[in-house]
Structures are given as C-alpha cells and as structure tokens.
C-alpha cells in the first residue's frame, strides 16, 4: 500500500474476471505518461476498464488525486460517468451517427454544458488538434489517423483529470503511425494529469511513455524507464519485443551458468546470484571454423534451424547451448553457405553481454 497520498492515479487493486485475476499496484503522477506494456490477455485492458469505472475492482482501491474512485473494502464506487476520465479506445468508438464536431461536443454536453458552450468547447479542441476542416464529417469518412485525432479530441474535450489510452496507434497502418505518434506525444506533453497508455507495441511504449510497467498474466513483472526496459528486459516477452536474446542464469564471479544450458564469461566480476543476460542479435559473430579461444570471449557450437530475411540482414535461428537469434549480412550467409542444419560457431564478447540481477520482487 504505497503512494497513498499521491496526487496522481494510484491503483492498488485486484480485478477478477472469470478465471482471470489482475493484481497490480501502480502510480501515475500528474503529467506523467505511464506505459503499460504487455501481451494480449495480460490484463492491460482490464486495468483501463477498472480505472475508467467500467469494471469494479474485486479488492483494493483506485484513487485519483487522493480521492477514492473505487474501494472494494469500503464499498465505495464512482460510476464511469462520474469520473473525470478521458478514454481513447482501441478502435476509437466514435459515435457513427454523429459528426466529428458532435462527437467532440458530446462530453462537454454530457457533463452539463449548454448546447452553445459545448459547441464552442468542441470548436476549441477541433482547432487545437487541427480538425476544424473535418468538423462536419461522419466518422466513416475519416482516415485512421484522423479518427485517432478525433478520438483524442473527444476524450480531451471533457477536460479529464486522467487520460486513458488503449492501444492508441494499433489501428493505424505503418505509414501514418509515425506521424500520429509524434503528434500524440506532443499532445500528451500538454496534458497535465496522469496518463495511462496501454500497448503491446514496445516502440509505442518506449517513445510515448515516461515510465513503463510490464504486465504479464495479470501481474507487473517489470517497472522502469523505457531505457531500462529496453536494455534490461526482465522476461522473454519483453526481450523478444525489443529484439534481444535473454538468458537467465546464476552468476559466480565472472562466470554465469545458464539455466537453459551453457555458460557465459562476463565482464563484471562482482556479479553473484540470479542474473539475466541480454545480448543483441547483432553483437554475436557467426563463423564456420572454431575461433581462437579467449578469456574475453564466449564461443560455442550451434546448429542453424531457421533463416529469416529482415530489411537488410538475415536473422538466424540457432540451436545450441545456449540457443540464440543472431543477425548477419546476406553476404555472410552466402559465404558460409548457411542453411538449416549448418553447423557453426558463435562468438559473443564478454563486454557485449548486459548482465543484471534477476530481481526477486518479480515473483511469477
């Protein structure tokens, strides 16, 4: 039960839905964008639902600026319509029968403004998000990027104290995503309340969030800044997302015995106990002959099990102790005539291994 007195969003709650249990404790400070990163079914949307008041918590409480929104023990619950929340849904959920301007005016009107006042509030937000020209359109006449902006304008027009974004960019095609992302970042910077941004896309979380929590199976498995998460992922899921090889093991001085088999020499001589080792796919070298052994390098034999063409390089799937994903140039593939079944040697310099404690707080 920490951060009780925080003036941001404090969630310390459990939500049970069927057999699924979401149990999280997190805080988003005013002005902070807290990224919630996790695979499908990890409970991200349930978390947003609970914060918005669409799903009551089963235990614990949710407070905003010190005020209770939901408290299972006290039996207190503020209905969704009574919470100062702006929710940008994954598929935007723009009202199809209303124009863009009417969509944006919906919240001011519902929160008690008169018709004229609501309309001028909508005008303000349309202008601010560059949507004035689209005011008279219906949602089905908008492009994905435009719809995203309208959804954001509609959420902000209610003057929320808390902003909730559910996969805000996932419905966009790759071409518009970068533009919208940059724009969204600007608008999020202007927002003074706490913001919860849920995504399964690490880039989105890393670019848009100030702080990230990783959610898996209804639990927080890692918290940190985007940089920490990207460099030192705590789970395979995050490692895969950020494109790193991740190995769990036990360190004893400069040696790490890997849980899945094999061992690494590491640069850090002080490491002890359970650690994680992260290696970039481009930091490993593939060779056909056994390289000269060296105390500063790890070398081990492996078998190629798959090759995938990426933009300008080939990603090799290698089985060995340990297995690894390694990026090589197409030229190297030709030179070594690599194909599934090829026997190769892998080399990883000790200084290229990122070693960090396997935090015990992340019980799973």
């Amino acid at each position: 039960m920490r951060h009780r007195g925080s003036d941001g969003l404090v969630v310390d709650a459990e939500v049970r839905r069927g057999g699924f249990v979401l149990a999280v404790s997190l805080t988003a400070a005013p002005g902070q964008v807290l990224g919630v990163l996790g695979p499908n079914g990890s409970g991200k949307s349930t978390l947003l639902s609970a914060a918005a008041g669409l799903t009551p918590v089963s235990a614990g409480r949710i407070t905003l600026a010190g005020q209770v929104m939901d408290d299972a023990e006290e039996g207190a619950f503020v209905e969704a319509s009574g919470r100062p929340v702006g929710f940008v849904f994954q598929n935007y959920r723009l009202f199809p029968h209303l124009t863009v301007a009417e969509n944006v005016a919906f919240s001011p009107r519902a929160r008690g403004l008169g018709r004229q006042a609501a309309r001028s509030a909508a005008r303000h937000w349309l202008e601010r998000l560059g949507l004035t020209d689209l005011a008279g359109r219906k949602p089905d006449q908008l492009s994905g990027g435009q719809a995203q902006r309208v959804a954001l304008a509609r959420a902000l027009a209610g003057q929320p104290a808390l902003l909730l974004l559910d996969e805000p960019l996932s419905a966009l095609d790759a071409g518009t995503r970068l533009d919208v992302q940059a724009e969204l970042k600007r608008h999020l910077a202007d927002f003074t309340g706490p913001c919860l941004l849920v995504t399964h896309d690490p880039i989105e979380a890393l670019v848009l969030a100030d702080q990230v929590v990783v959610l898996e199976g209804g639990r927080i498995v890692q918290e940190g800044t985007p940089g920490q998460i990207a460099r030192q992922p705590a789970t395979d899921y995050v490692a895969k997302l950020v494109g790193l090889n991740l190995y769990a093991g036990r360190a004893d001085g400069s040696q790490v015995e890997l849980t899945a088999g094999g061992a690494f020499v590491i640069a850090d001589r002080e490491a002890r106990g359970d650690v994680l080792v992260a290696v970039r796919p481009s930091a490993m070298v593939v060779s056909g002959e056994r390289p000269w052994p060296s105390s500063a390098r790890n070398t081990w034999p492996a078998t190629v099990t798959g090759l995938t063409m990426l933009a300008d390089r080939v990603r090799l799937d290698l089985e060995g102790k340990p297995s690894a994903l390694v990026d090589v140039t197409p030229a190297a593939v030709a030179e070594l005539s690599l194909r599934p079944g090829s026997q190769v040697w892998l080399t990883a310099k000790a200084t290229d291994l990122e070693v960090y404690p396997h935090a015990d707080s992340q019980q799973r």
Partner: protein, 286 residues
C-alpha cells in the same frame, strides 16, 4: 482407374455465372422444384384472383358507396396511435429485456412474446375479461371514473396494441442485444448518465431496427381482426376497421369488399417496399 460421372453440358454463360458466384451448381433438384412451384402458386393465385375480380370500372363508386372511407380513416389512425403507444412503452420494455437482468426475466420475455402466437380472438376475450365492464380492472374504471372501454375506438387501439406491440418489442430487443455496447461504454466515460446514453447513443444506433419494428407493428395493427372484433365490436365509424369492413361487406356488397381489400393490399405493398432492405434481401429478420 479414375471414375467420373459422364460430363454434362455447361454453357459459357453458366460457367461465367458460377465463376462469379464462386459456387458449385445452382440448379434446383426436381424433388424440390415441384413443391416450390406449388407453394408459389398457392401464394400468388389468391392475389391474382383479387386483381382479376376487382371492379376496376366502378372502383371509386364501390369504395365510396360503402363505409370504406370511415373504416379506412379509423384503421389508419388507430394503427398509428397503436404504433405511437408501442414506441412509448414497448421500447423501454425492450431495453429492460435486453439490458438488465432480474429474476423472472425469462418468464417476462415469454409473456411479452405470447401475443405473437396467441390466437387474436383469445387476446380479445382476455382483454374483455380484464377491461370489460365487469372485468377485474374494467369494473373499477367503470365505477370510479365512469369509463367504459369495450366497443369504443379506445378498445380498438388497445386490441391492436396487445397484438402488434410484441412485434416492435422483439425487433428492438434483438437490435439492442446485438448492438455494440462499446459505444455505450464510451459514452459513459465521456460523462453521460444512463438516460443520456440511452437517448443520445443507444436509440440512434438502433434507429433502423426501431423503424422496421414500428412499420411491422403498424402493419400488424392495420390488419388486426380477431382481437378487435371481440373486444371492440364492429360499429361503423366507431370500431369498424378496414379488415372488419371487408368481412361484412363480403356478405352485402362483394364489389366493395374487393375494393377495400385492394386498398389494404396496396398499403401492404407500400409497407413491404419500405422494409425491402430488411426482408427482400433475404437473411434473418432480427
């Protein structure tokens, strides 16, 4: 050894059609074709009979010579009043059935749908027993307010509402059930209370079904016979609706009966055309 049935003729046109549909043969097997044709004949011949026997030359005279205008006006306004009442009280009930849960809800739904399958005459008798002068409700209406319902235009509207409102309720309830509730959630997060959500999001989003249900309800009310004649009787100008007028005219003035029927047929066709997107395209109703 490969065994094939011997090839049959497939014209270029049929080839193109099948390719466009992406399906296999669309020809109808003979055991299905014959009964299907009989069914078509059965449905179409009576309508043809009506058109053939219509006294086209003195149609206007036949119509104006009877109480047709009176009956038509009565039918139109009672059916319209029925639809208005059904919208006012049936749509809220549809919402309750679709969106809330309470003990006995299934029983309530069954009761609401019962008039759909109940013989209308039985409905008329039931109405009489409840709202008749000696009925368990009508008794008090009579003694307290001096209000006698049976055999008045109000009775016509009540009989029609009893029979027709379930059509509206079922149609709207189905639409409410299948509507994406995500929009209602979105409205709630935007600060809309439940009644605002209903008014500004739910109703507009089921508007097509609401329209279809209202048309269906209106058409059913217009054609109502059994419950009306039982509960409201057949006083010309008071409770004699078009179907009842047709029925009596058949005995006294067949030409007028045919002319009146033609008018009802015309109205039905108009209704069908207005529902074409829903029905003529095929597929399910709800």
């Amino acid at each position: 050894m490969v065994t094939l049935t011997s090839p049959s003729r497939l014209t270029a046109r049929e080839r193109a059609r099948r390719a466009a549909r992406g399906g296999a043969s669309r020809s109808v097997p003979a055991p299905l074709l014959a009964p299907a044709l009989i069914a078509v004949g059965f449905l179409v011949l009576p309508l043809a009979g009506l058109l053939i026997r219509t006294p086209w030359s003195h149609l206007w005279a036949a119509l104006s010579g009877s109480d047709a205008t009176q009956a038509l006006v009565l039918s139109l306004w009672t059916a319209t009043a029925t639809t208005a009442i059904s919208l006012a009280i049936g749509v809220p009930l549809a919402w309750v059935l679709a969106r809330s849960s309470f003990p006995g809800q299934r029983l309530l739904r069954a009761l609401v749908t019962l008039p759909l399958v109940l013989p209308p005459v039985v409905g008329g008798v039931a109405l009489l027993l409840a709202f008749g002068r000696t009925g368990f409700v009508g008794r008090y209406l009579d003694s307290w307010f001096g209000l006698t319902i049976p055999f008045t235009p109000l009775a016509v509207v009540m009989a029609e509402t009893f029979v027709a409102m379930p059509f509206l309720i079922i149609t709207v309830e189905g639409a409410l059930r299948s509507a994406d509730q995500g929009f209602e959630e979105a409205a709630a997060t935007l600060g809309a209370k439940r009644m605002t959500v209903f008014r500004r999001v739910t109703v507009p989003m089921v508007a097509p079904s609401l329209g279809a249900g209202a048309v269906l309800c209106w058409a059913r009310a217009l054609g109502e016979f059994g419950a009306t004649i039982t509960f409201a009787g057949s006083f010309p100008g008071q409770t004699e609706t078009m179907p009842i007028a047709v029925y009596y005219a058949l005995e006294t003035d067949p030409d007028a009966a045919i002319a009146l029927s033609l008018v009802l047929l015309l109205v039905s066709v108009i209704v069908l055309v207005s529902l074409r997107d829903r029905w003529l395209r095929g597929g399910s109703v709800s």
